[in-house]
Every structure is written in structure tokens, then in C-alpha cells.
């Protein structure tokens, strides 16, 4: 007689979200390769991966900005029609985009209510909308004034508007794309507390990030993407940062080897420098850059870094204060003058400012030096010399580029940044401004850039490193300053301040100076 074995069946709740076999190609690039993932009710899943791993693409497909080439999306058991953000919104999916999708010249109310009423309806129930926003603000700790213009809000407040947009539409699944990239550590805590309230209310969350610390703190499960594929899935409680890092990168991460600094001459001095206009201005900052050292500037973007970078790059003059280069007062100032003073600049935005996308690699590499005798004589350009220079840089800086005559926009981000780095370092500069030099780069390129900067430091250059990545700043800098609302904290030597102290400075709380 057959033995009947009764197997107890644990009834698992259906997932609120299921992505099955999502594949997406952009030309020859496979951004997502047969990715499957599920999200349970009340769960926080972190989507982890370095830049370019395919996280944002995947979420754009979920939200309907892109159409997948293969695979399907199911929300609450129902298949979602592809490429239709409205369908996603109606199904309860809300997205907090990495680059906020808010219209600055309109009010908070207008931004939140946009698209929520039938398009051809003759009127607009403003008062009802205002009340609903106030209610949601109070329930979830997202204080914001509905009638203020978005342009008047801080970055943290703008993010609250993004979240409220989703909650206003009764989102039950919330996707957050790199939400903490623009927040101070204190604001991040506030965000996490809001997320916990949302989960208590029954929402499910996907949290995209490349920051291991936060992933470990907030998520229940982690899905790691690498090169467009799922590299691994773990329960957060059962893993650690080291394992996740290894999954993200596929290899052991080596911290850069930093030798002891050899302090050279003082090459740049700022005393009491203030600027005026255009974003957050500088307020009486003091800064010294010495040869052979890296000075790191920590701080969330929007606190005056742009003004300082523009100042050093030659795009801006100080309104007050002393500005000296090698102890000589700066007179007429411009990008050309900065270059002539031996300053090399790696700009924050390689696409908009660092390179001219539709010009060739050759034309781009001579953009800062085309008037030198090496490349031009009596107004005529020597293209042969220019091409030779481009070839030199491509070789020396390991840039994957089939021909220097191709348009630079076709290079990958990492290769473009290496070229820009090469262009900057080729002049053997004595001062280097590196502004977010590794933003958006994969780990290999990051390591390369760090290596070259350390080489320049060993050769005696003074480097100012501006970065949002606190880990990068701490790893590379000999001195660390913090920028907050246009003011610069006094520098501290490597290891002198703890991470917590730096976080406080970034949030504007004065660290106590008692030795």
C-alpha cells in the first residue's frame, strides 16, 4: 500500500509586483538581460548595483518610460501594458525619479496635481487638492507648503514633493531611484523614517542605490545587478557589506594605496573670498592648496561647490577677498587665464561642459590648447599634430576608442572621462581641480582615475577634490573640509574627524573645536 505523506503547504502571499525575464537592448548594448524579481507586500527590496548596471533602465521599464524587448510586468497579479506610465500610475506604481521631475516655475500644488484630473475637465478643484496634500504631509512627515514655487524649495523639500506626487495618486508600490544621492546624512534619516511610516501603512518599496550602508539599513532583501544581469539575491539580515560589494563588482575591491603626503609650496590661497549671484554663493571662505597634497571637499551638492569650482576654473571672479596663485594676486581672470596659471580642470558634467559631444575626439582634446604653437601657427591649425596628440592620449590613458576622428559622444562615460583626465594632466599642471571625477563611472574606471590623481599628487601637484561620495573623499584626501551653505569648515587632517563629525558638519552643525 502506498504511504501517504502529508506535506504541510505554507501559503505564501502573492507578490504585489513581479518582473519576469525583462530584457532591454539599446543598439549593441544589453542594458537588462532576462531579469526577474518579485516584491512582497510591505517589503523593502533594494536594487543594488554600480553605475551602468541597469537599475534605472529596469525601473523605467516598470514605470512605462521604456518598453522591454522581452519579458513582462505584473502588478497585483495583473499584467501591465508596456510603455504606458499612466497604466503604471493607475495600477498603483509611483516613482521618485533620480532627477526630480518637477517644474520649477510652478507651485508644489500644481506639480502634484498635474495629470490627476481628466484632461478636458473645465475646472480644477484646488481646495480639495490642497487639503489632501496637507493630510498626506502630516501623516508621513513630509512637510511642504503647497502654494510655494518649487524653485524656492531646497533639494530635500523637492524630494518630498516627488514622494507626495506618488502618494497623492494612491501609490501602493513606491520606487525610489538613488534618493539619498542629494541628501545630507540627517536628511537621509528623515527620509528613512518616512519610508518606515509608509511601510506601516501597507506600501511596498523598491529602493535603488549603490550605497551599501543605506541598503543594509533600510532593506529586507537585496537584489544585486551587475552588467545588466541579476548577480545575486540575498536577505539583508543574512549578508554583509563585503559580500554585497563583491557581488556588485564581481571581484575584490582594492582600496587605493595612499602614500604619505609630501607637502610642497602653497600654490593657491583664498582668504575671505565671497562671491555673488548664481546659486549658492561663497561666504568668506579660506582655503590653502599645497603641492603634493589632495584636499577633499565633502558636502552635498548645492552648498557652494559650484561657485568654488567656477572660481578656480576661471568662470567667476571673487566679489571680495584675496585670491592668490603661488602668492601672486590674481588680476584678470578667465578660463584661459586659469589654464595659463597651470590649473587643470576636470568638470562636474563631462557631457555638458567637459566635452563637445558632436565634435571629434581630436577636436576635443585640443580645445584648451589650440592656440599654442604646437597646434596652430598664424591662425591656421595643424591637424596632424592634433591627431598625434589625440593618439598619444588614447594610448597613455587606456581609452577604448577606434579612431580619434570619431565623434566623442560615442565613447562610453568612463572612456570620455579618461580622455578628459588625460587632457587635463597632459599639461603637467601644478593645480588640479577634480569635480566629481568619478560620478557615473564603473569601478574599473573609478580605480583608474584615483590612481592617476594619486600619481599627480606624488609628482607635486595640488589637488582639490570635490565629491559627493564621502567614501571617496575620505580615502583619497590628505585634508578634508566640509562645505555648508557657502561656508567652508577649517580643514582636518586625514583621520582627524570621524564620519559622524563630518556628517554633522555637512548638516550645518558646528563640530566643537576643543582639541
Amino acid at each position: 500500500m502506498p504511504i501517504m505523506i502529508v506535506v504541510p503547504m505554507t501559503v505564501k502571499a502573492d507578490p504585489v509586483l513581479r518582473l519576469s525575464g525583462i530584457t532591454k537592448r539599446f543598439g549593441p548594448l544589453v542594458a537588462n538581460d532576462a531579469i526577474s524579481l518579485t516584491l512582497a507586500r510591505g517589503e523593502v527590496v533594494a536594487l543594488l548595483g554600480e553605475n551602468g548596471a541597469g537599475k534605472t533602465t529596469l525601473m523605467n521599464i516598470l514605470f512605462g518610460h521604456y518598453v522591454a524587448d522581452e519579458g513582462s510586468v505584473e502588478v497585483f497579479g495583473k499584467r501591465l501594458p508596456p510603455g504606458d506610465p499612466r497604466a503604471a500610475l493607475d495600477a498603483g506604481v509611483g516613482m521618485v525619479h533620480q532627477h526630480f521631475t518637477v517644474a520649477e516655475n510652478m507651485t508644489v500644488l500644481e506639480n502634484i496635481a498635474l495629470g490627476t484630473e481628466p484632461l478636458f475637465s473645465p475646472r480644477f478643484p484646488k481646495q480639495k487638492a490642497r487639503e489632501k496634500i496637507r493630510r498626506l504631509s502630516a501623516d508621513f512627515g513630509l512637510a511642504v507648503d503647497p502654494d510655494r514655487l518649487v524653485s524656492a524649495l531646497t533639494v530635500g523639500e523637492r524630494q518630498r514633493v516627488e514622494i507626495l506626487k506618488a502618494l497623492y495618486r494612491d501609490a501602493r508600490i513606491l520606487i525610489l531611484d538613488e534618493p539619498t544621492a542629494v541628501l545630507t546624512p540627517i536628511e537621509t534619516d528623515a527620509l528613512f523614517s518616512t519610508l518606515r511610516k509608509l511601510i506601516a501603512d501597507g506600501l511596498s518599496i523598491i529602493f535603488i542605490s549603490h550605497k551599501l550602508r543605506e541598503v543594509m539599513e533600510i532593506s529586507d532583501r537585496v537584489v544585486v545587478l551587475r552588467g545588466g544581469k541579476v548577480a545575486g539575491e540575498r536577505h539583508t539580515a543574512a549578508t554583509d557589506r563585503k559580500e554585497l560589494a563583491a557581488l556588485m563588482v564581481g571581484q575584490e575591491l582594492a582600496a587605493p594605496a595612499v602614500t604619505a603626503p609630501v607637502r610642497g609650496l602653497r600654490l593657491m590661497t583664498l582668504r575671505g573670498v565671497s562671491t555673488r549671484g548664481g546659486g549658492t554663493p561663497l561666504r568668506e571662505i579660506d582655503l590653502d592648496l599645497h603641492g603634493g597634497e589632495i584636499t577633499g571637499l565633502a558636502g552635498v551638492s548645492g552648498n557652494g561647490q559650484a561657485a568654488l569650482a567656477e572660481l578656480i576654473a576661471g568662470m567667476r571672479m571673487p566679489q571680495e577677498g584675496e585670491f592668490r596663485i603661488a602668492d601672486a594676486q590674481v588680476g584678470v581672470w578667465s578660463p584661459a587665464a586659469a589654464l595659463a596659471s597651470g590649473i587643470a580642470r576636470i568638470p562636474e558634467d563631462r557631457h555638458a561642459v567637459g566635452a563637445i559631444a558632436d565634435m571629434s575626439v581630436t577636436e576635443n582634446v585640443i580645445s584648451e590648447r589650440y592656440r599654442s604653437p604646437r597646434f596652430s601657427r598664424r591662425g591656421f591649425l595643424d591637424w596632424k599634430a592634433a591627431r598625434a596628440f589625440a593618439d598619444e592620449l588614447i594610448r597613455d590613458y587606456d581609452v577604448k576608442c577606434p579612431s580619434p576622428d570619431m565623434r566623442i559622444r560615442l565613447l562610453s562615460g568612463g572612456n570620455m572621462q579618461k580622455l578628459i583626465l588625460g587632457r587635463a594632466l597632459a599639461a603637467e599642471p601644478r593645480i588640479i581641480l577634480a569635480n566629481q571625477p568619478t560620478r557615473g563611472l564603473d569601478v574599473g574606471a573609478v580605480g583608474y582615475v584615483h590612481g592617476r590623481l594619486l600619481e599627480a599628487r606624488a609628482r607635486g601637484a595640488a589637488i582639490l577634490l570635490i565629491s559627493e561620495d564621502l567614501d571617496e573623499v575620505l580615502a583619497l584626501s590628505d585634508h578634508v573640509c566640509v562645505m555648508y551653505k557657502g561656508r567652508l569648515s577649517p580643514p582636518s587632517a586625514r583621520g582627524e574627524r570621524t564620519l559622524q563629525q563630518l556628517a554633522e558638519l555637512m548638516a550645518g552643525h558646528e563640530a566643537d573645536h576643543a582639541a
Partner: protein
């Protein structure tokens, strides 16, 4: 000297001013809608010509005046569709496409005119709109005849400005349109198609522009002749900037400008032949440039104006 001032207090001056303002109001509102949605429509001069011609042709062919207005609007919408298709989904240069549309619409109008009337020396006349007096209100001094004894098309012009203002600021459609001109990503993220909004705006705006052109043939002059738009389209582009992209201010700008134009005509008559008439004719254009310079300083233009949008742009 006193006569120069006295002109400002005659009813006939203001009647002329409001009449001259009417096509400008239509066209300025039309361009305003396009630009608020993020599209610069440089086809305005050609579309006004096409509207003038289409309206005139319909009436010349036996249709009634309002049918002429409708046909003009349709013609405008058709060119708007062409402009929109090239600049919105295909993202081609709005400058080049606009100039191309102006050239195309103008030359098509002249070509068709020549086919219809191969031999004429003076363009045939049609029966234009007649002034329609509003009872009681038209008896008020000066503003009575100026505002309340005009042709129905003038009343429509002012009504259109009011409708545009109301739609832009009080309806969900207007909200979406404004957002499309400020940050199209915001519109897309709320599930609305930017392409649909921008195309709709360009077509509706072009229809208004064409009606402005039709005013010239069916209410101001009563026939169609070459070069009749005479730069009004370009002036309306300046008026949109002058009005800071707001319908109320733009309406005011159009009326002020028209008043200036009416004034220079009368001033010409006053001075006899002492001052070359060309100097007077130049003044509207010079004024437009001045208006642009003054307003450009503080212009709060739609942030996404002339920036083509690609869905899911990374």
C-alpha cells in the same frame, strides 16, 4: 503740437487702434500657446498669410464669412500639424522648420491665388464683416465705439484672449500645457504624453494665428494682396516676449502697439510731407526691437522652450 495730443482723445483713433490690434491679438495668443508648451513657432508669418488667403478664397467662392473663418482656422491647424510633426516627435530645429513653413505657406498661398485669378491687376473685393454695435455700451464716450462698435471678429479676438487665459490657468489641460513648456519630464512622469500636448498646442495656436490673418482680408481690408501680412507675425513674437508669456499682458501689449501704429498713421497726416513716411512706417518695427530688449532682461521664459523632448531620456 496740440493736435498731436488731441489725436489721443478722438474716438476714431481708438476705434482704429482696437481694429489694428485684433489680428495681433489672435496671432499673439496663438504664438503664446505654442511657446508656453515649449515650441517656438516661426511659421507665424506664413500661417497668417495662409489664413488670410484661405478665408478670402472661401468667401470669394461663395461661402459666408464665418465659414471663411473656419476654413482659415483649418488651414492654420494643417500647417500647425506639419510644424508639430517635424519639431515634436522628430525633434528638428524649430528655427529652420519655422522659416520653412513660413516660406511654404506664403508661396502656396501666392501660387494658389495666381491659379484662381491669373489675370487680375487689382485684387477682387469681398464683402467684409460689418461692425456690430453693442446696445447702450456703444454710446459711451470714446471707449463706446472703440470697444463696443467693432466687427464680430474683433469681439472674438478679445474673447479668445480670455479663453486662452482661463484654459491656461484654471483647467487641467492648461496645467499640463504649461508643465510641458517648463519640464516635459514632469508631464511624462504623470502619465501624460508630451508629444500629444505639444502637437495639440501647436495646432491650436496655428489655427488662432490663421484667424488673425483672416481678419486682415475679411475685416480690415476686404481683399487679398501680396505682402499683406507685412511683418505682423514677427511683431507678434516680440509681443509674446513683451507680455512675459502671459495672456493678459500680451493683450495689453498688442493694444498698446496697435495704438502706437494708429498714432503714427495720423501723425503722418499731420506733418504732411515734411517727414518721410518711411520713418513712420519703420517705427513699429523699431519699437518691437526696443520692447524685446527691455523685456529680455527680466523675461521668465518657459524653461523648456525650444528643447525637444525624447521619451525616457536618460
Amino acid at each position: 503740437m496740440i493736435e498731436a495730443f488731441e489725436i489721443l482723445f478722438t474716438a476714431s483713433f481708438w476705434v482704429a487702434a482696437i481694429r489694428i490690434a485684433s489680428p495681433l491679438i489672435f496671432a499673439t495668443m496663438g504664438e503664446l500657446i505654442c511657446e508656453r508648451a515649449g515650441v517656438l513657432n516661426l511659421g507665424i508669418e506664413g500661417i497668417m498669410t495662409a489664413g488670410a488667403f484661405a478665408g478670402w478664397l472661401t468667401v470669394y467662392g461663395g461661402g459666408d464669412l464665418w465659414m471663411g473663418v473656419a476654413v482659415a482656422a483649418l488651414a492654420g491647424a494643417a500647417f500647425g500639424l506639419l510644424h508639430g510633426t517635424l519639431t515634436v516627435p522628430l525633434g528638428l530645429s524649430q528655427h529652420v522648420v519655422g522659416i520653412g513653413i513660413t516660406l511654404l505657406a506664403t508661396s502656396l498661398s501666392y501660387f494658389t491665388y495666381r491659379i484662381v485669378l491669373p489675370q487680375v491687376t487689382s485684387p477682387p473685393k469681398i464683402e467684409p464683416f460689418q461692425p456690430l454695435a453693442v446696445p447702450y455700451l456703444s454710446d459711451l464716450p470714446i471707449i463706446g465705439p472703440a470697444l463696443f462698435n467693432q466687427t464680430p471678429l474683433t469681439y472674438l479676438a478679445f474673447a479668445s484672449a480670455a479663453v486662452v487665459a482661463w484654459v491656461l490657468y484654471r483647467t487641467p489641460l492648461g496645467l499640463a500645457l504649461r508643465a510641458a513648456g517648463e519640464n516635459p519630464a514632469a508631464v511624462e512622469a504623470q502619465g501624460i504624453s508630451v508629444t500629444a500636448i505639444r502637437m495639440g498646442a501647436v495646432m491650436a495656436g496655428s489655427a488662432l494665428m490663421a484667424v488673425g490673418g483672416a481678419f486682415l482680408t475679411m475685416s480690415a481690408f476686404n481683399s487679398f494682396f501680396f505682402e499683406m501680412v507685412n511683418g505682423r507675425g514677427w511683431i507678434c513674437i516680440a509681443l509674446v516676449v513683451f507680455g512675459s508669456w502671459r495672456p493678459g499682458k500680451a493683450l495689453l501689449g498688442a493694444v498698446l502697439f496697435a495704438a502706437f501704429d494708429a498714432y503714427q498713421v495720423r501723425l503722418q497726416q499731420l506733418t504732411g510731407g515734411a517727414v518721410p513716411y518711411q520713418l513712420f512706417l519703420m517705427m513699429p518695427f523699431v519699437l518691437s526691437i526696443l520692447a524685446l530688449v527691455i523685456m529680455s532682461r527680466r523675461a521668465s521664459y518657459p524653461k523648456a522652450l525650444m528643447v525637444p523632448y525624447q521619451k525616457g531620456e536618460r
